[in-house]
């Protein structure tokens, strides 16, 4: 077992997003899933206040729709820390589609 402390970049999501700039934002996860591409840095603002507490990197995008946890979207694969995964949204490992149910005011963003 080796220690795998997260790198600084992952804990400064807000600064990262604001340094590179926000390309687009939406409150709707389906819309979000239509906009992202492989290679996108994505973030979300928990309370829709433009403060980004978390960030991930899209490593793959599917052209097929999925519905999990009552949410419909085009599936995509996210690499992120906590818990150090590279997983499809539709998998049980990834929880991006549940953000809106946990934080109704959340907004999703694509970083340049």
């Amino acid at each position: 077992m080796t220690k795998k402390y997260t790198t600084q970049v992952w804990t400064v999501a807000d600064k990262f997003a604001k340094f590179y700039g926000i390309k687009s934002t939406t409150k709707d996860f389906y819309t979000f899933s239509t906009r992202i591409r492989q290679g996108s840095f994505i973030a979300y603002s928990r309370y829709g206040d433009g403060k980004y507490a978390h960030m991930g990197f899209v490593t793959a995008k599917s052209s097929t729709k999925k519905k999990t946890s009552g949410v419909t979207y085009y599936d995509f694969k996210v690499a992120q820390h906590t818990s150090d995964y590279n997983a499809w949204v539709s998998s049980s490992t990834n929880g991006w589609e549940k953000i809106k149910s946990n934080y109704p005011k959340a907004t999703f963003a694509i970083v340049y």
Binding site: M1, T2, K3, K4, Y5, T6, Q8, W10, T11, V12, A13, D14, K15, R46, K51, A53, H54, G56, Q80, H81, T82, S83, D84, Y85, S92, T93, N94, G95, W96, K98, I99
Partner: protein, 131 residues
Amino acid sequence: MRKISLLLIVLVLCGTATSCSSNGKTDNVDIDYGVSEKYKEEEIEAAARLVLEDFKRFNNCELIKLKYSEEDSLDLATQDSDEIIVFVADFITGESPAAGLMSNYEYSWKWILEREDLKNEWEITDYGDGL
């Protein structure tokens, strides 16, 4: 007179430095050890102590709630190693918090700890905003 003035300046500067930055607070944290079918209470408590100690690095932040997550612990255990324990930690930040965190914000992060086997101690292997 000049010495006294210098001493006063030094004392004021020291006081300012102290008030501007303080270790992460855990004094009033609400800890929920939950119910586990996998780990004994003392195993969870030992892991929780490490998280509390680690949180002291988070200057100008206050840990509000620390909760053991059996669900997350079991989910992760199937992927990598078997001995994994996960806590959900809710904390708030003050002015100029540590590690580039946003000021005056509420965070809900996960702390992940692992150990080789029952003979070894827990080690923190990851932490952050877990989804």
